[in-house]
């Protein structure tokens, strides 16, 4: 369908319609035609990288190197280089794991769930949101891998047939994690790649060098854009969306069982699965917004990632942020209502104990700040949105920190209580994963179309079979 060319260009000042129903605001602005979209998006991949990209990339790679160095030192010395102690067996590593997995939620949600619900505004952001998901999950996977005491024995967690007939412990939520996250990663990458195929074909067709021709040719899997191809493709995409949708809910639910199935006061709560999912979507959208705002500024994609997109994302963050806030309140209520002294103390301790600073950072960023999204003025102010989206992720990191650390530091026997503080290596590892993330992300921006050309074309008014140019409409009236 993207091969059909409009008869006329819409006039610059005309309102663009999607379908026949008038929309208050267009999804794609500017005088975009199918050709201009192809040109604009492909140019980013085909031209020389802007200077800003080069600087950002070198910076990210150096941070990635720091991560690798830190991991090497960790493997050489042991987990003791981190700040963990006896009651606090999990610290920043697990916090970061949950944080990155949470961020990895938005991509699939945007691609799959919104696809199923036919939310057309998703088309501008789904590609890079999915890429973000993949890279975030890769960052997340770093932590469970390196946080174990004996990295060289990590293969024990996989159900590999062996002569001892020794299987992993299927009762352990950590094992569920292994499956949940790896399945999520596998399906996400398939989904992402499937969505890329028509765009890869476009790039192949535009390729001028042999290498590009070969690489994109191989990746495009022989896509010719025939009707039959489109039929299979759309069906496959729909099926994958259907497969991915339950995963959006399952991954973070399973991650939350790492805590919920334990007996530790503060972890042992049934509200965790929905609460974690809401939090994940919340943080994922915040990350998409952060990256989207950067992309639209740096690569000049204001026509594709419009204020309307930001507005919609803000609303989703408002909803999920409020859900998270509600969960915090419920946790407290149940801790009191349940009558379990240990649990009661765990929550009072969170709010007023030695980690109160972390708790109130979390409350401010996750509960209070999203309430600003009620205001349209804020929803349409890109600068403020940028700051808020970052604050939301700060808050979400602290949420995981509060859950993981404050519960562990004071549990049942007061003699075992201890305070946890990170070491420089905890911090370097966390910052290092941002290097990993941005290295991948910048490479993605450079070599693959960051906006789905195919799908954006699909939401242009011109793609609608009933489309008539505005002047035609006028004439008919």
């Amino acid at each position: 369908m993207n091969l059909i060319k409009p008869k006329k260009q819409p006039s610059p000042d005309a309102t663009v319609f999607s379908g026949s129903a008038p929309l208050p605001e267009p999804l794609i602005t500017g005088k975009q035609t199918f050709a201009s979209i192809t040109e604009r998006i492909s140019a980013i991949v085909e031209g020389k990288p802007p200077k800003g990209w080069m600087i950002a990339f070198s910076f990210s790679v150096s941070i990635l190197l720091m991560l690798l160095g830190t991991i090497g030192y960790l493997a050489d010395e042991g987990i003791g280089i981190w700040g963990l102690n006896n009651p606090v067996g999990w610290g920043w590593a697990i916090v970061n794991f949950v944080f990155w997995v949470g961020i990895g939620h938005a991509g699939t949600l945007i691609s799959a769930v919104l696809h199923l619900f036919r939310q057309k505004w998703r088309t501008s952001i789904n590609r890079f949101a999915e890429a973000m998901t993949l890279f975030a999950v890769i960052c997340a996977l770093v932590f469970p891998t390196i946080h174990v005491g004996r990295i060289w024995m990590l293969h024990y967690v996989f159900p590999i047939p062996n002569q001892m007939e020794m299987w992993p412990n299927f009762r352990s939520p950590l094992l569920w994690d292994v499956f949940a996250v790896s399945i999520y990663f596998a399906v996400s990458i398939l989904f992402w790649f499937t969505g890329l195929i028509p765009d890869l074909a476009t790039l192949r067709d535009r390729a001028k060098t042999r290498a590009r021709k070969f690489i994109f040719g191989a990746l495009a899997l022989g896509w010719r854009g025939s009707n039959r191809h489109w039929q299979h493709y759309e069906l496959a995409y729909l099926v994958l969306a259907g497969l991915a949708t339950p995963l959006v809910l399952s991954v973070h639910s399973v991650v939350s069982t790492d805590f919920a199935t334990s007996i530790l006061p503060g972890w042992h709560t049934t509200i965790f699965p929905p609460y974690f999912v809401a939090g994940a979507i919340f943080s994922g959208f915040a990350m998409v917004m952060t990256l989207g705002i950067i992309a639209r500024e740096v690569f000049g994609l204001k026509d594709f990632i419009t204020l309307k997109h930001l507005d919609k994302m803000s609303k989703i963050m408002l909803v999920t942020g409020s859900m998270v806030g509600y969960s915090y309140a419920t946790e407290f209520f149940i801790a009191w209502y349940g009558g379990n002294g240990y649990e009661m103390f765990a929550f009072i301790n969170r709010a007023f104990g030695p980690y109160a600073w972390a708790y109130w950072t979390m409350i401010s960023c996750n509960v209070i700040i999203p309430q600003l999204f009620w205001f349209k003025k804020i929803r349409s102010n890109v600068k403020i949105l940028f700051v808020l989206s970052i604050l939301v992720n700060v808050g979400m990191w602290f949420e995981r920190f509060v859950i993981v650390v404050s519960s562990l530091s004071r549990d049942f026997l007061p003699s075992a209580w201890a305070y946890y503080s990170p070491t420089i290596f905890d911090i370097m590892t966390f910052i290092g994963t941002f290097g990993l993330f941005f290295t991948f992300f910048l490479l993605f921006l450079r070599f693959l179309p960051m906006v789905s050309m195919t799908e954006v074309k699909g939401v242009l008014p011109a793609a609608d079979p009933h489309y008539k140019a505005p002047e035609e409409v006028k004439e008919n009236d």
Partner: protein, 999 residues
């Protein structure tokens, strides 16, 4: 920070003082101090290493450093006949300890001793032991032990010494020993005593002086004052109903701690509500384990102890107790004590005539001991609750003799001095300046374990053999004789003091074996000597060799004379208490990592000593934990950090001896501060007129409880107060009589049901344990025994500061009651082997599982170290190897390892296994002899060593086993049982027996 502490009403609990005050300054300190502390690393990275690491990690080969060290084994070329590889053998031997000796059974694997246990037959160990005995195995394999004979600092040899001395000796033989002197430590040994008397008869003009830095010298002197005779006092606490201690810590630092702890525990063992128990009154300046176990404790400065005792004596006299020699005391001079307390105590002592006991500590002057003897005598306690044994083959420490010797040395009258053990340059009273005196001795010879402070100042240094590598003999306090038989040849060619003394005496090098046999040929008589000798070696003691119990007659005159010089302190003064350290004793264990890392039972400090003061003193001085203060006596001053413990008498500073060693030990060199620098001949127990001032500096002390000063806020202390009565269930004896089931009724919880049918665990052996909180006195012996049995690494001060100590069994210590005089409780915590273990379910690789006998087992090979099990353990008893803690272990220390237990690698979780290796060995033994295991066949290391028999292990599936019987008692409760984890270890609630008149 301690200013806003208020006394609390009723019984409430708190962990330490820090949690009781919420002070912004302190919190700021905590915040500023600890994050900083946690940022430092064990080893910094050099640029080169960094680059190599980067390279490694880039090549994704960063795991190259994780391989285990390669170990080579060498087989026996010809196997010895009696040794079955892998099957340990046990030998009886004896550990001399001052005037006492502990009979031991030592486990030996292929010729190397690995574990020390008490010998049930021996009267001083009763099958149990203490932390020092347990840690001796590490002392044997101490890589810093002296390795060769030194002559003026140069390496020499034993034959060289003998030849050299042989020439010198001729000279002294002619002069009858003029200018010859021996300074020995205290001992009770038939062979040493024989050699000593032979020496004195060969060299009649020679001097023999005995000095021990920590001794009961003043107790013996007091006895001499009152009864005109020296004798070994041996209390029989199991017979006592009312006990009063005056600065006497008979449970931990006393010379007969095992027997006394057992006796006291026996006097308080309660099986049902029909039983009764003894009552302990403790008057003390510091806070000791004895004070912690007391039913009534009175914090009182040590210098006021005489006054208190005098007041008690007058009180007793006023009630018709006839005490001779009290004329010297006036009522007026003894005023100022709580009359109610005093009168209740007096009444109790009088009503329990013959079943009471008063004990005074070794730091108190002889006059006080004389008075205490008179009181015990007047109350009819002597011969019943305390016996006096004739002293045989022993030499007693004497400070006046030492003073005399130093004078002679200074005047040049001593030309050859033999230092038989001991380290006088370090530990002799500071005013004697032994180091300077030693310079005037042209020929000095030292026998010592380590190249120590004295070694650099002597002409000859001879390495001293460890008791596990020498032939010798010893007598227990009651006179029971036993032989020290070696389990291993001297590791560094060291010589025993018997051999050195013999060579000194005769100029001939004779083996210790011959010397000891020669002595014993007299003891055992000639008939059947070899057979009887074998029996003694096998049994570890000579039965019925206890000395005669002597009846001491009090002499009213000398008592009155003594009492007239009893110092009744008047004005207010700050005092300084010197006490032997529960970790390093007098300094001899300074290089022992197990003991250094062993938390002080009261302060929970490790790797350091401190100026321990009470809350009132701290408040007055406005100092906090970690603040460095200057302590100034008349002659010297010392700067050391403060540690505040509630309940220490006001204006009293307690400093543990034995720290601040200056010797090249890799563990103990330079740790803590040397309190001997302040200790003079006049202030052996305590110094008065001490001035203290702040220095404004801080020094980071590290404790294993209240790790990070975390419990400061009110929020936490309120919660702990609420929680602890349920964790450590306690009642008075009276309450218990009324409500025998009180411990079980303390927690309300929903019915503990499962959604599915739980595994029954009702077949075969089912292991379980009980710990009686009523008799546990928190002495730490179990912690060290466990460390020795299970190859538990030490982690060092820094890692303890990070909360990474590895002890599998720890002793939690809590306070309750008023801050000025709180009660203290102890609770040993190890893995409880929960039937419904939270740790097992969460391990992703199934490395921790339940076995058919109810053990929560660990497969170290399978563990990948996710630490989830530790997170989910409600007792927090799982320990993680954050680093490869055994990586830099010297080869010789590896010999102390138990070959039946895996040495864990880094990244692995470990925990108590109920000594599964012992269970399996006993099961195999039983199977090989075609029988079922009997109750008591298996003893876990902690149970085996517990001096109070607080820990009992056994088969809970056998209704007749001790453990099943105890679990049926009404005081039995499951700690955190409300979590439905079904722990196999249960506790028996603590009881106290306060005097109804005082409650």
């Amino acid at each position: 920070m301690k200013q806003d502490l208020k006394p609390m009403a009723g019984k409430s609990y708190w962990r330490s003082l820090d949690q009781k005050a919420d002070d912004p300054e302190f919190r700021k300190f905590v915040e500023s101090e600890f994050p900083e502390g946690t940022f430092d690393l064990a080893r910094g990275i050099s640029r080169k290493k960094f680059l190599s690491l980067m390279g490694a990690s880039m090549a994704l080969a960063g795991l190259a450093g994780c391989r285990r060290p390669v170990e080579k084994i060498i087989p026996y070329a010809i196997a010895p006949e009696e040794i079955v590889p892998g099957v340990p053998r046990y030998f009886a031997t004896t550990m001399p300890f001052g005037l006492n000796a502990f009979g031991l059974l030592v486990e030996s694997h292929e010729g190397r001793p690995t574990k020390i246990e008490g010998n049930k037959e021996h009267p001083s160990s009763l099958g149990a032991s203490n932390a020092f005995v347990q840690a001796e195995i590490l002392n044997l394999y101490d890589p810093d032990r002296s390795k060769f004979v030194r002559h003026n600092g140069e390496q020499s040899s034993w034959p060289e010494f003998v030849v050299n001395w042989k020439n010198e000796r001729e000279k002294y033989l002619k002069s009858k020993g003029e200018g010859l002197a021996v300074l020995s430590v205290e001992f009770a040994s038939p062979t040493l005593a024989r050699l000593r008397s032979e020496f004195l008869s060969a060299f009649p003009k020679a001097k023999w002086v005995t000095h021990a830095p920590v001794s009961d010298e003043m107790i013996y002197d007091g006895l001499k004052l009152a009864a005109g005779k020296y004798a070994h006092p041996v209390p029989a606490l199991e017979k006592a109903r009312v006990i009063l201690t005056l600065d006497a810590d008979f449970m931990k630092t006393g010379s007969n701690d095992i027997v006394n702890s057992r006796g006291f525990a026996d006097s308080r063992r309660v099986k049902s509500e029909n039983d009764t128990m003894s009552r302990l009154y403790a008057v003390e300046s510091g806070f000791s384990l004895t004070g912690a176990m007391a039913d009534h404790r009175l914090p009182l400065q040590s210098r006021l102890m005489s006054k208190f005792t005098a007041a008690l004596a007058l009180e007793l006299r006023s009630r018709g107790v006839e005490i001779p020699g009290l004329k010297a005391l006036t009522k007026k001079s003894t005023e100022g004590f709580d009359q109610k307390w005093l009168s209740a105590l007096a009444t109790d002592l009088i009503t329990h005539r013959g079943y009471g006991l008063i004990l005074a500590g070794p730091g108190q002057p002889p006059e006080l001991h004389a008075l205490v003897f008179a009181l015990n005598d007047a109350l009819g306690n002597i011969g019943r609750t305390i016996r006096y044994y004739e002293i045989e083959d022993a030499v007693l420490s004497s400070v006046p003799d030492l003073q005399d010797l130093v004078e002679r040395m200074n005047s040049g009258a001593v030309s050859t001095l033999l230092l038989l053990g001991g380290n006088p340059v370090y530990d002799a009273p500071a005013d004697l300046d032994f180091s300077r005196a030693l310079q005037n001795v042209p020929n000095s010879i030292q026998v010592a374990n380590h190249p120590d402070e004295t070694s650099t100042r002597v002409n000859w240094h001879i390495p001293k053999a460890h008791f596990l590598e020498q032939w010798g003999d010893a007598r227990a306090l009651d006179g029971t004789a036993s032989v020290i038989q070696p389990l291993i040849a001297p590791l560094f060619g060291a010589k025993s003091d018997v051999e050195v003394l013999s060579a000194f005496l005769s100029g001939e090098d004779r083996p210790g074996y011959d010397l000891v046999r020669e002595t014993w040929s007299h003891i055992l008589k000639q008939k059947d000597f070899d057979k009887r000798w074998q029996t003694v070696l096998h049994d570890g003691l000579l039965p019925d060799s206890a000395a005669r119990v002597i009846q001491l007659k009090i002499s009213a005159n000398s008592l009155q004379k003594a009492l007239s010089s009893l110092v009744i302190a008047e004005k207010e003064e700050t005092e300084l208490i010197f006490s032997p350290s529960p970790a390093v004793f007098d300094g001899r264990y300074a290089n022992n990592g197990w003991l250094q890392e062993n938390p002080h039972p009261i302060t929970k400090l490790t790797w350091d000593n401190a100026a321990v003061i009470g809350t009132a003193t701290a408040r007055r001085m406005q100092v906090q934990n970690h603040d460095v203060i200057q302590v100034k006596t008349e002659s010297a001053s010392l700067q050391l950090p403060v540690w505040i413990v509630p309940g220490i008498a006001e204006n009293t500073i307690c400093i543990d001896l034995g720290y601040g060693r200056k010797f090249p030990g890799r563990i103990g060199g330079g740790l803590g501060r040397n309190a001997y620098a302040l200790r003079t001949t006049a202030s052996l127990g305590f110094a008065t007129g001490v001035k203290i001032s702040k220095t404004g500096r801080k020094y980071r002390l590290v404790s294993t409880q209240d790790h990070h000063g975390l419990d400061v806020e009110k929020l936490a202390s309120d919660e702990i107060e609420k929680r602890l009565p349920v964790l450590i269930r306690e009642a008075t004896l009276e309450e218990y009589h009324e409500e025998p089931e009180f411990a079980k009724e303390m927690v309300e919880h929903p019915p503990l049901k499962s959604l599915w049918e739980d595994r029954k665990y009702d077949e075969g052996y089912q292991w379980g344990m009980t710990i009686d909180l009523n008799v546990c006195n928190g002495c730490n012996a179990c912690t060290i025994a466990c460390q020795s049995e299970n190859n538990i690494p030490i982690v060092g001060k820094k890692e303890v500061g990070h909360g990474r100590e590895m002890h599998w069994i720890r002793i939690d210590r809590y306070f309750s009651g008023e801050e000025e005089n709180p009660e203290m409780v102890f609770q040993p915590i190890a893995c409880a082997q929960c039937e419904n273990a939270p740790c097992e379910q969460v391990c992703p690789v199934a490395a921790t599982n339940h076995d058919a006998e109810g053990l929560n087992t660990m497969a170290y090979n399978r563990c990948i170290g996710t630490r989830y099990c530790a997170n989910n353990c409600p007792y927090k008893v799982r320990r993680f190897n954050f680093f490869n803690f055994t990586k830099e272990l010297p080869e010789i220390v590896q010999m102390a390892m138990n070959p039946d237990v895996t040495v864990r690698f880094r990244g692995v979780m470990e925990k108590c296994t109920f000594c599964v290796q012992r269970i399996h060995r006993s099961k195999l033994d039983a199977k090989n002899s075609h029988r079922q295991l009997r109750d008591g066949d298996i003893q876990t290391a902690c149970e085996q060593t517990c001096p109070t028999d607080a820990i009992v292990f056994g088969d809970i599936n056998d209704v007749n086993s001790r453990v099943s019987q105890i679990k049926k008692q009404d005081r039995d409760y499951a700690l955190l049982g409300e979590l439905n984890i079904k722990p196999r270890t249960t506790y028996q609630a603590k009881l106290r027996n306060p005097n109804p008149e005082l409650t």
